[in-house]
Amino acid sequence: MTERNDIPEPLAEVLEDFEWITDRRERTEMLIHYADQFKPVPPSIATPPYPEENRVPSCESEAYVWAERQDDGTMKFYFAVANPQGISAMSLAAILDLTLSGQPPEKIANIEPDIVFKLFGNEISMGKGQGLTSMVGMVKAFAKEQLNGGRE
């Protein structure tokens, strides 16, 4: 079990908010609230067509993730979602950006991809769950890559 202190505090707080949710409508509203805050990757980082290596595997909404190590040692993530109706992908991307950008890779590397089910609920379809889980997996992999010395 990952302890709460092992993962970035902002993410732990959001997960706690979701723990209180009991009905689907409330969950849906909360997820849409995050989707509304989604900001696509700026052109200074990437422009379409986006590279295949940044593409989230199994995501039917064609999502992409980029990561940078900032001068203070923390990470900054960027996301793109090609499908204009990929609301779930945008929602998760917004949550990950809001809670993980500005956090050290050590803590991001501890995140478990199953946070997707804590956010979206266990009833989410298998295909959908896989795409979203992959997005978390990519964020985690970028953080681990930094801990292992980066690509260069």
Binding site: S58, S61, E123, S125
Partner: protein, 295 residues
């Protein structure tokens, strides 16, 4: 943009245009049903009067890996205010992929007048047509369904195995990467929920989305025949089984072959790769390139 009737389909009546739906928003004999891959979409806005049918909550049995039974289907129809005589029009995201899935399940229970809105949700939105977040409520109906008929449009693993042994055609509608059995490039990620990669021997790989245009509408019968017949060698008299990962994308191809091209016998294998790729001892084929690489 050609009208549905000009595209040469075998059963053009199963497709309606966004214009048709706009003209029937208040038709008491028509129920519009949104069915999406993305569970958040309906709540962000939908066609006025449209009800939501969610595949995981409404159409799946909550314990078995199977679809709901007759009584649950009747209860669902009652809840969304549908009678056996009504026209049910499905639409959804991702080029109607899940709309055709819901359509397929409705056909298992014998709902007669089921149709699909060509172009789906995206086309409706892009045309600037009205959307609402108001969830409608209809008076409950009494609906008597037939017991679920799994013989005509649905295939099970043993039937698929016989089909393979008889050398009959299958269509694998997944991506070429999934078809070839390539591992996903993210280590530690679930590989499509299956222990083995590859495809059912003899299957032809036609990704489901090749049947639609950029604007999400279906291609004309001639364009579809070019793909499924000239290119892949299928014939309208063939006994065809379509499959994907869990049977959703393949219901789209089932719809295309059965209704748009008029094939006599098309079944959807909903066990699909998440069943076949986990079964002990069934034959699996990998792509030629990969076999060469492995040799």
């Amino acid at each position: 943009m050609t009208q549905v009737n000009d595209r040469g389909y075998a059963h053009p009546e199963v497709l309606v245009t966004t214009e048709w739906v706009a003209e029937h928003l208040n038709d008491p004999n028509v129920r519009i049903v949104e069915s999406n891959e993305d569970p958040l979409l309906y709540a962000t806005g939908h066609i006025p009067g449209a009800v939501e049918v969610d595949w995981t909550r409404d159409l799946n049995d909550q314990v078995l890996r199977d679809y709901i039974g007759q009584e649950q289907f009747e209860a669902l129809m009652s809840r969304i205010g549908v009678t056996p005589e009504m026209t049910v029009v499905f639409y959804g995201d991702k080029s109607n992929w899940w709309a055709t899935y819901a359509f397929w399940v409705f056909k298992l229970f014998g709902h007669k007048d089921a149709r699909v809105m060509d172009g789906g949700r995206l086309k409706w939105v892009q045309e600037g047509r009205p959307m609402t977040t108001e969830v409608p409520s209809y008076p409950p109906t009494v609906y008597k369904a037939q017991p679920r008929d799994d013989r005509t449009d649905r295939a099970f693993r043993d039937q698929v195995l016989e089909h393979v042994r008889a050398g009959l055609p299958l269509v694998d509608v997944r991506s070429p990467e999934e078809f070839r059995g390539e591992l996903l490039h993210m280590p530690g990620m679930p590989n499509e929920g299956a222990l083995r990669g590859g495809h059912i021997p003899g299957a032809k790989n036609v990704p489901w989305s090749r049947a639609v245009r950029e604007d999400s509408t279906f291609k004309s019968a001639d364009e579809l025949r070019q793909i499924y017949e000239q290119e892949q060698g299928l014939r309208p008299t063939d006994d065809v089984i379509a499959y994907c990962r869990i049977g959703e994308r393949s219901s789209h191809t089932w719809f295309v072959l059965k209704y748009l091209l008029g094939y006599d016998q098309v079944r959807n294998y909903d066990g699909s790769w998440t069943e076949w790729g986990n079964l002990v001892g069934v034959p699996i084929e990998k792509s030629e390139t990969e076999e060469k690489e492995m040799a």
